[in-house]
Each structure stands twice: as C-alpha cells, then as structure tokens.
Amino acid sequence: MIEANAVYVLVLRELIKFFRAKSRLITTLARPLIWLFLIGGGMSRLVSPGIGVDYMQFIFPGILGMTILFSSIFSAISIIWDKEFGLMKGILVAPVSRFSIVIGKALSGTIVSALQAVIILLLFPFLGIKLSLMSFLYVIVICLLLSFAISTLGIVIATFYESFESFSVIMNFIVMPMFFLSGAMYPVNKLPVILKVISQINPLTYGVDALKHAMLKGSDLIDFSVATDIAVLVFCSVVFTVTAGIIFERKK
C-alpha cells in the first residue's frame, strides 16, 4: 500500500531543502557545464571527423544523462545521511509502508534531477541542435523516466551502506564507471566485449540512447530502438523499487 500523504511530504521535504541550499544547485549544474564545454569543446577538434557528427552535439545527450546520474544518485544516497543522522529512524517508526518511503524518496530524486536536466537542456539551441516541441517533450519524459530509474537504483545501493564514508566508494566504483560505460562520452559499440557487456547492463546506457534518438536523429551512433530503451528503463525502475522496498521491510 502507498500512502499519498507520506509520499507527498517526503517529496516536499526534498524540494524545500533543494531550493534552500542554492549552492547545491550551482555545484550540480557546474559539473555538466564543465564537461560539456571544457572536455566536449576540447575533444571536439580531435574526434568530430571520426564520428560523423559534431562532438559537442554527440555528447549533449550524455551530458543530460550525467546531470541525471549524479543528481539522482546524490539524492538517493542522502538516505545514508539520513541513517547516519538518525532521521531515517524517525521516518521508519511512522505508520507508513516501506514502499511509500521508497517511492517518496525516488520521486524526490526524480523531480530534482529532471529539473536540473531541463535547465541544461535549454542550452540545445546554442549547440546547433534542433528539437521540435514534440521532441522537447519526449526528452523531458525520458529525463523523468531515467531519473526515476537511477534514483531507485541509488536507493538500492544506499540500503547497503550505513555511513557516508562509503560515499567515495560509491562514486568511484559505481557512478563513474556507469557514466563512462553509458555511451555518454564515446560510442560504446566499438568497445572491447567485456566493457560492451557492462555497458549493456547499465541502465544509463538506455537513457542516453533514448535521448540520442531525439538529438542525433538518424545517426548510426544509436544502438537500440526507442521501445527497447523505454522498456529497459521501466523494467529497471520496477525491479529497483521492489528490491528497495523489500530490503527496507526486512528488520534487523
């Protein structure tokens, strides 16, 4: 059972905190901008001829994916903070189902990171990308879906850790590899088999791929169909939500 009031207030709490901590918004937006302009700008001279599209345009979907990845994971990982500071205990003794808590947390992460992705998305005209209104809305839907999938994944990861010393472990061994093996910065279909397999079990790959459909129309750098992308993201969301709910339900 899912309690609407509980979900509502968990999302509200995250939004209040998000808009209160303005520095967080600036730092999370700075990362994708740095990657886009410093790395993308620098690399474009080097690689553009090889891949057939402008490199900045090529990585733009990946930069959106990155914004979502970091922001969703960060938001989900705040569960570890909540545990460390005891806040989670206060929430867990309330008469709400564990699924409501997971959904509430996941939706908080989803809204906050999709919001940031949309802010970055507004740069598209400056990169020479053309989006129809339909494509623009499609991108927003994909951003929401991807944010939800990554947020729930983040919650599953967070349930395994009790203190935030694990933060850098998660960042270095889960988030960074996920980012690089998602097709965000370079096409993954040319990678060695092992890395290619990893990239194919990486949910971010499908999110980035779905975004490429809107931004790199007809390019041979797209690996899957829109239907596959969406199906995988929905599937991951469901699996991660259920897993997180079950882990939360289990008592020590």
Binding site: N5, V9, I16, K17, A21, F85, G86, L87, A94
Partner: protein, 328 residues
C-alpha cells in the same frame, strides 16, 4: 489494564545478548521508568517495542497489538523520542513537525493548529520558522518531544530525553513530561541516566546486563536498601551516643565527629532524639535513600555518566571479555 506488555523478550546481536528474558508491564496512564547502566539494553528494548528491531525470542504487545505482527497498528499508537536526535536540521521547526504530521496521516485541516499548539506547549512557537540547525540542544529536545506528540499517541517513549540538557532545561522538560498522563492521556515509557529524575515515575524497572533485576515503585525500591540515615553533631558525642542507644535500643556509630544511625522512620525519630539529648545537639541532618543508592546496591555501580572513569570502562571490558570467554 496493561497497555504495554512484554514477556520474556530476548535479543541477540551476534554473540552479544543485548537483552535476556525481559518482562515488563505498564499500566495505562502511568509513567514507567527504565533504568540501567550504559549498554544494559534499554534502547534495544525500546527499539523492539517501537517495531524497529525484531526480537530473537519472546513477545511484546502495545495497546493489544503485537509488536512484530501488527507493526503498523503499533506504530500508530506510539510516539517516540530516540536517544539520538532525529530532527532534520536543514528544515525549520514547523517543517519538521509537518513532516511527521503527514507521515502520521494527521487530517490536513488540523495540521497547522496542532503544530502551533504543540510548539506553544514546548515554548518554541516564536522560533517555528527557524531552521533547527540554529537551535540549542535543549530546544531540539523539546521540539522532538512536541513532534512525538503531534499525532496524539497513546504511548510516548522517551529514550534519555534529558541527555545533555542543563539543569534548568531538565527541570522544565520534566515538568512537561509529568503533566502528560493527565493532560494528554498518554502513557510514558522512559529511560534516564539521572536517578533523581526517575523519582517522578510511578513504577521503575532496573535492568543490568540485559536482565531486569528489580521492579517496583520508587518507594518500594528505596526500602530495599534499608532505612534513612540520621547524622547528629553534638557537643558531647559519647554521652549523646549512650543516651540515643538507650532510647531506641539500636547501634549508633561515629564517623568524622558525627554520630549516625540507620532507621526506617527517620523523620519521626528526630524529634525524639532532640528531646532526649537536648541542648547537646549542634546539628541534625536526615539522609533518605535515593534511587541512586538503590541503583548502586543493585548493579554495583554508579550510573552518572559524568562519573564514568577509566576503571569503569576497564571493568566493562573485563566483563565483556569474560562473557565472551564464558560462552566459549
């Protein structure tokens, strides 16, 4: 009617037996005190009662609901202030209260009024829009108590509610807590390190090493350590000593130039003593057994955390080591 009923509850963490066959009954509308030294198993018991932990064996019911099987009914019936703070420091006092009001499904139309009332009750209304980060320890504690009451629970658990508060805030908080049963029809289940605070309890259980070693009202427990002690200073101790011994037919001893005797009814003895030894009396004082004495007698240690010394920790270590060793 017992609103909290705990039967033979045990909880094992790996090799550590945190609580062992604990049984407790708490009457509705009373204040129950759960006392014990560090690591005795108080918080573990509370965590099981408030459905955060499942016991290894035994049974616990709250308001008739089983703490393991009917956890959501139990959660609705209780409010809790944990030993460690659980406020969101980035949110204001009002927002913290609101978070809980929604989590406990308080009717939306009532939320605002209830929060305002509760904040007035703990004297934080003026600070309701300040982020909790800016609060002092005592203010945070009061806010947590107010938050624990927002959904009008039938039982309020308080795990060391006054830990880290100055004497004045402690006194204020206790005034507030003792009013709860009458004003809000709440049963209070609390733990504390400060023995004098436990005086306000209707009943007390003392737990040590995971097992309950004594239960009773504060007076009953105090009787178990013997009677009151009367200390008398006189101008002629030897003479006074024989006179008092003849009067009551009990032993009188002398220490530091002061006579002292133990009796069950100290207050009524004093007038008689003064009548008998008359103008020789320089000063008289009466010392009644405190819960602290009870505690020391029962557990063999002082509970005050500020007096925890390195020998204390060493004793603990040795005991923990022995326990492990005994188990093999």
């Amino acid at each position: 009617m017992s609103i909290i009923k705990v039967e033979n509850l045990s909880k094992q963490f790996g090799a550590v037996k945190a609580i062992n066959n604990v049984s407790i009954e708490v009457e509705e509308g009373t204040i129950f005190g759960f006392l014990g030294p560090n690591g005795a198993g108080k918080s573990t018991t509370i965590n099981i009662l408030c459905t955060l932990l499942s016991p290894t064996s035994g049974k616990a019911t709250i308001a008739g609901y089983d703490c393991i099987r009917d956890s959501s009914m139990v959660r609705k019936a209780i409010g809790i202030v944990f030993q460690d703070p659980t406020l969101d420091k980035e949110l204001t006092a009002y927002e913290n209260m609101m978070l809980h009001a929604y989590l406990y499904n308080v009717k939306r139309s009532e939320i605002k009024d209830r929060i305002h009332d509760a904040l007035r009750f703990v004297d934080l209304y003026e600070r309701k829009d300040d982020v909790v980060k800016k609060f002092s320890g005592g203010m945070k504690r009061r806010l947590e108590v107010a938050r624990g009451l927002i959904h009008r629970p039938r039982i309020l658990f308080l795990d060391e509610p006054t830990l880290g508060l100055d004497p004045q805030s402690r006194a204020n908080l206790w005034d507030f807590i003792t009013e709860l049963p009458a004003k809000h029809k709440v049963t209070v289940f609390m733990t504390t390190h400060y023995m004098d605070e436990a005086e306000v309890c209707d009943r007390i259980s003392i737990i040590d090493n995971g097992s309950i070693i004594a239960t009773g009202t504060p007076d009953e427990l105090k009787k178990t350590v013997g009677g009151d002690v009367i200390y008398i200073k006189t101008s002629d101790n030897d003479k006074a000593k024989t006179e008092i011994q003849e009067l009551f037919d009990i032993d009188v001893s002398e220490k530091n130039d002061e006579l002292f005797l133990t009796t069950l009814r100290g207050d009524s003895c004093i007038p008689e003593i003064i009548k008998t030894i008359g103008e020789k009396v320089l000063s008289v004082r009466l010392q009644r057994p405190t819960l602290n004495d009870v505690f020391i007698k029962m557990t063999g240690k002082q509970i005050r955390d500020e007096e925890v010394s390195s020998t204390y920790t060493m004793k603990e270590d040795i005991r923990a080591y022995r326990r492990r060793f005994d188990r093999g």
